[in-house]
Each structure stands twice: as structure tokens, then as C-alpha cells.
Amino acid sequence: MCSVCGCGPGTHHAHSGHEHAGHEHIGHEHHDLVLIEKDILAKNDVYAEANRERFERLGVFALNLVSSPGSGKTTLLVKTITALKKKLSVAVIEGDQQTSIDADRIRETGVPSVQVNTGRGCHLDAHMVEHAMEDLPLVRNSVLFIENVGNLVCPASFDLGEAQKVAILSVTEGDDKPLKYPDMFAAATTVVISKIDLLPYVDFNVERCIGHLGSINPDLDIFQLSATTGEGMEAWIEMLTGAATQAARKALCHA
């Protein structure tokens, strides 16, 4: 029996749609309006915070690398690891829809790497990263690269718990890309303009691109480099080494 208006089951009198304080009564079903006011991705954010806390506690400097497919993320990563591994412990989580080609390429450098296949999914989420870490034990005071699925849309919305979100933009893609995908460049902390050795052959205006980036996110740390020729790699490696040292020092203070 309805505790509000007293009607019981099987009584088909016409009282559809009448309203009481706090609930509405349509037919013989109660309709309760419940205010939630919560982010749809709240669950992802909880996992992301747990990951972040773990990284900070262990002094792991974690980076989330995002870009379009074909920007040269994996090539940059291989060159970066080769330069970093002499001084620092490095590990990699590779996100791709299919295959373990990228993780295999990374393993050839001698650092541990785990491939996460997202299948139909177009991005990594914080929960996938948490699971990936089960197969990739985190080393204290190390660098963790999380190479996201090649996509400039979805990964912008999913915090993985990283310290830096690095958007890689190759000069073959066009200098107006930041304007086309503003959400990603607004969410990023760092931008790498890659393949600069190809600048003489493409219509890419670096100054204009940096201007667009500044209008969306003036706090971006911007690097220009070529993983193939090595030009600009020094500043990038220096930043990574500095940030990793700082993460390790911070963890030591918290211990």
C-alpha cells in the first residue's frame, strides 16, 4: 500500500501524476527525484588520486603522454629512455587498442614495460593504470612513462594520477591543432613540438603554434625537439631529470 495516499495494489483508479511533497506518484509507482550533483567521472578521479598518492609516496615521477596517432610518441620515448636510464630507473605503461608492438619496442631498450590493450576503448583510465602496476612493480625514485592511446580527445578527460600530462604535437600535423583540440592543450602541463627536423618541408609556423598554445594555456612548458636528429633533446632530458629528482626529494620529506 502506498504510504502517502493510501492506494493499494490492484486499485486502478485514476490518480496518475499527482504530487506530494518530496515525491511524485504516477500510476502505482513512486517517482522520487534525487539530487546527486556529482561529476560523472568521479570514480575515475578516486582511482587517479590513489595512484597519485602512491607515486608521490614512492617518489615516482609519472608522466601521461598524449598525442594524435603518428606523432612519434614511441620513438621519442625510446630515445628519452636511452638517455635517462644511465641515471634513473625507468618503467613504461603502454596503452594501445591492439598489439604489444610498442611495449616490445620499449623492452628492447632494457627497461620494464607493460602493454595495456584498451580494445574498443580509446583512452587509458586510472583504474587500468592501477591494474597495470600489478605487473610492473614500481621502483622508488624512478620515472614512469604512461603512453596513452593515440587520441587528442578522450584522454583529456581522464586523470591517471600523473604529475605531468605531456601533449606531443608533431610539425607534420599543422600549427592550428591546439585550436582544434583545445581541451587537451588546456588539460596538459607540457607540450612537446616534435619532428622539428622536418620543418623545412612542411607548412608549420612554430611561432603561430606557440601563440595558439598560449591563448589556451599560458602556463604550458613548451619543448621543441627532434628525436631523430637529437636537436632539442637536451632541454627535455634536463627537465625530466630535474623533476624526477624533485619527486624523489619530496617523497623523502614525507617519509
Binding site: M1, C2, S3, V4, P9, H20, G22, H23, H28, E29, H30, H31, D32, L33, V34, L35, I36, E37, K38, D39, I40, L41, A42, K43, N44, R120, G121, C122, H123, D125, V153, C154, S157, L179, K180, P182, D183, A186, G214, S215, I216, N217, P218
Partner: protein, 138 residues
């Protein structure tokens, strides 16, 4: 595919609330999507498949689109840019990277349907659980 993940996250969260309150199904869902999210239409399209077989099956999805507004530090005022790809003040041309509204992806409210169930908050099983928890606390 992005929108399917968002739809699945939405369905999961709504189902958790519906189960907690002992509802038999969800009548409608109201969400707020910022203009920058750009997936309102796609979300409408894939919501039914994400909801299939859950308490959200058959629920009506209402999407309130939140317009893009940005802060212009030069004018010291909140402005509406002339387009989504134009992060400059429409009046003075100054860059306006600070987004005030337009990035939202929020679950605002849900309408729960419980066949001949008492109103939310007074539900028998939920009430019993609450009481037993508080008595254990004492």
C-alpha cells in the same frame, strides 16, 4: 568510443544510487554537459546501449548543455567567446585561457521509480540498515 565510456560511467553511478535507495528502476536522468565536452548528441545516441539490462534501461536522459564562458583578466569580467575555438575576449581580444563554465560533465539528478515503495529515505531495507549501523556504533 569516448561517449560510450562516459555513458557507462554515468549508468554505473546512477545504478549505484538506485540500488542504495532500493529503486526498481530509473525513470529519468538529468546531466549537465559543458559545450567543450562536445559529446551531448553522441551521448544521447549511445546511452540506451550502455543502459541495456541495467536499472537505467528505458530511462529518459535529459542533457542540459552549459555554454562556454571564460574570464577576461583585462576586462575583469566573465565573457562568452565567439566560438569554441576562439580563446580570446570578444571585446578586447586578450587571451582568455581560464574557462569558467563549459567543461562540466556532471550528474545533476535522477528520478527513481520504486513499485509501491515508500518515498526515498523512509525505505524499509535502507532504514533497517541505517538503524543497525547506528546501533552498532553505540
Amino acid at each position: 568510443m569516448h561517449e560510450l565510456t562516459i555513458a557507462s560511467a554515468l549508468v554505473e553511478q546512477v545504478c549505484d544510487h538506485a540500488r542504495d535507495r532500493g529503486a526498481s528502476r530509473v525513470g529519468s536522468i538529468r546531466i549537465r554537459m559543458g559545450a567543450l565536452s562536445g559529446i551531448a548528441k553522441a551521448l544521447h545516441f549511445c546511452f540506451p546501449s550502455a543502459a541495456k539490462g541495467t536499472l537505467c534501461d528505458g530511462a529518459v536522459l535529459y542533457i542540459d548543455e552549459v555554454p562556454l564562458t571564460v574570464m577576461c583578466v583585462r576586462c575583469d569580467a566573465i565573457k562568452t567567446p565567439s566560438g569554441h575555438y576562439n580563446f580570446r575576449c570578444p571585446d578586447c581580444g586578450h587571451p582568455t585561457p581560464k574557462v569558467i563554465t563549459g567543461r562540466e560533465m556532471q550528474l545533476a539528478s535522477i528520478e527513481l521509480v520504486g513499485a509501491d515503495a515508500p518515498p526515498a529515505g523512509a525505505h524499509a531495507s535502507a532504514g533497517a540498515t541505517d538503524n543497525s549501523l547506528s546501533s552498532q556504533g553505540i
